[in-house]
């Protein structure tokens, strides 16, 4: 794969024109286009999800688990159009989360570990959106579609939606542990080892959330200070960290199979530029 490394090394600087111009340039010339495509999809879609769930549909932060049926009907009435429009957009774009899972799987493929890790992660996380998010959106869409439905049934849809969202635990638990184990075993230095333990934190949030299946009030309910807020803080930190680390991985990628080259400082890069014989892809 030295040809790839050389190609990456001799790549001229991207033009600084309009955004479209730059995208076209990268599409034509950037050997890492596929990886950057997946990374940008991840950034765009995590942000869109934030907007859709917190602002358009206003289903997050979650409403109380203890609401009675008539209050739940009122809750649906308050955000009727937002739920229907917001979830329609979710249905439109959710498939574009798969490049994220593909990139995460790719990070494990770049490690010195067995292919069993990327494949199991890919399948677990691709399937996770079905119970963990889409069923929630379907249930709330069905609830919003017929406001005149029996309040008890609307209440059931409300429980179904929020428990599917918060109470789907295993996929994220096992998925995070697979990633953690791969990072700990990896000898290609794709990620720093401390990130493995952040995966463990993310996995543990799924244990923390489990009392939501039992408690309807208080810190352990699905909207509780522990169950929701602590988990959300961990999730935001975890996501921000892996988005940053994956970006770094793509920059470092040399399309080789050995240890991933470390990032160089600007001085080192300038030093290398003065010595043209040093290939950019060489591991330090």
């Amino acid at each position: 794969m030295s040809a790839a490394a050389t190609e990456a090394g001799t790549l001229p600087d991207a033009p600084s024109g309009s955004l479209l111009h730059r995208i076209v340039w990268h599409w034509r010339h950037n050997p890492k286009w596929e990886l950057w495509f997946a990374w940008w999809m991840m950034v765009v879609f995590y942000n869109l999800y934030g907007v859709l769930f917190f602002m358009v549909t206003r289903v997050q932060p979650p409403p109380p688990a203890w609401l009675d049926a008539s209050s739940v009907v009122q809750w649906f009435d308050d955000r009727h159009q937002g739920l229907l429009v917001g979830f329609a957009i979710v249905f439109l774009i959710t498939g574009f989360i798969v490049p994220t899972n593909a990139l995460l799987a790719y990070s494990m493929r770049r490690m010195s570990v067995s292919r069993a890790f990327p494949y199991s992660y890919l399948v677990i996380y691709s399937m996770s959106a079905v119970p963990g998010m889409l069923l929630t959106c379907v249930a709330l869409t069905v609830g919003a579609m017929r406001p005149d439905r029996d309040p008890e049934l609307i209440h059931w849809l409300y429980d179904f939606a929020f428990m599917a969202f918060d109470g789907t635990m295993g996929v994220f638990l096992i998925g995070s542990l697979v990633w953690m184990l791969a990072i700990l075993l990896d000898e290609n230095r794709v990620f720093p080892k401390w990130f493995a333990y952040l995966n463990l934190c993310n996995a543990l949030t799924e244990v923390v959330v489990s009392p939501a299946w039992i408690f309807k009030r208080g810190v352990f309910a699905w909207d509780g200070a522990i169950t929701w807020w602590i988990d959300m803080v961990v999730f935001v930190i975890y996501t921000t960290v892996f988005i940053t680390l994956l970006r770094r991985m793509i920059v470092r990628e040399d399309f080789g199979t050995g240890p991933l080259p470390e990032l160089r400082t600007e001085e080192e890069a300038a030093e290398d530029a003065r010595k043209p014989s040093v290939s950019m892809g060489t591991a330090r």
Partner: protein
């Protein structure tokens, strides 16, 4: 025995699958004249309780339950063709594997809701209507992985920069067109009547015809690609 022999066997399951899917579609009494979302709970319950309908609902949905995921081996063949493309990473084939894992699962969930509605039709009509709503909304709105699959496949084809690409560029254009045809179905929650409703022109007919067309066209181009691959392997051997 060549590796592609097994692939050809899998490919030829497609016509059989097509016959089963079309039969199941015609057997289900709520598809040929799709059920309207404006039906009252009593009308929905009467539809399921009708002795002429009930067996047809159950048999068609059992057929879909058996064979709804039958496309997965064929989609795997598509993944293998993406692997042959001149890409630098397996990102696109991973993406398609991800779509494959989630897409048919969603169809299976819609199928479960229909079967549940038909399981005890003597239940309170409001409950029958609830299961019926869940089935139709899941069935109609759950296009996300089909849209992503077509768009990602199109990108993969455009980036297959070699003298004889695996699929010709028109296959990519075709996939983008199919993805566009599936878009209105995502908005099914917004309309109880008209073209956007779950029995409407866009959300039902355009969407389902687009899926059918995609299966047929991709089956043919996949077959041609596998045959070409066999011919090339034959020369190499």
């Amino acid at each position: 025995m060549r590796r592609t022999d097994g692939e050809l066997i899998l490919l030829w399951t497609l016509p059989a699958l097509g016959v089963i899917w079309i039969s199941a579609f015609l057997i289900f009494p709520g598809f040929v004249h799709p059920m309207s979302p404006t039906m009252s709970a009593e009308e929905v319950a009467a539809f399921y309780r009708d002795p002429k309908n009930l067996p047809r609902i159950r048999y068609s949905m059992i057929l879909f339950n058996w064979f709804g995921v039958g496309m997965i081996p064929l989609l795997t063949l598509l993944v293998l063709q993406i692997r042959r493309m001149a890409h630098r990473t397996p990102i696109f084939s991973y993406c398609l594997l991800g779509c494959m894992a989630a897409g048919p699962t969603l169809f299976l969930i819609a199928d479960l809701f229909w079967l549940l509605a038909a399981f005890r039709p003597e239940r309170d009509p409001a409950l029958i209507q609830l299961f019926n709503d869940l089935a139709w909304v899941t069935f109609t709105s759950q296009v996300p992985y089909l849209i992503a699959q077509s768009v990602i496949l199109a990108l993969a084809i455009y980036l297959d920069r070699q003298s004889r690409p695996v699929f010709e560029p028109w296959v990519a254009h075709f996939n983008l067109l199919i993805a566009a045809a599936l878009v209105p179905a995502a908005f099914v929650g917004l309309a109880m009547g008209g073209a956007m409703a779950w029995d409407g022109l866009l959300s039902f007919w355009v969407k389902n015809v687009a899926i059918g067309l995609w299966v047929v066209v991709m089956g043919i181009v996949l077959g041609r690609a596998i045959h070409r691959q066999r011919a090339e392997e034959g020369v190499a051997a």
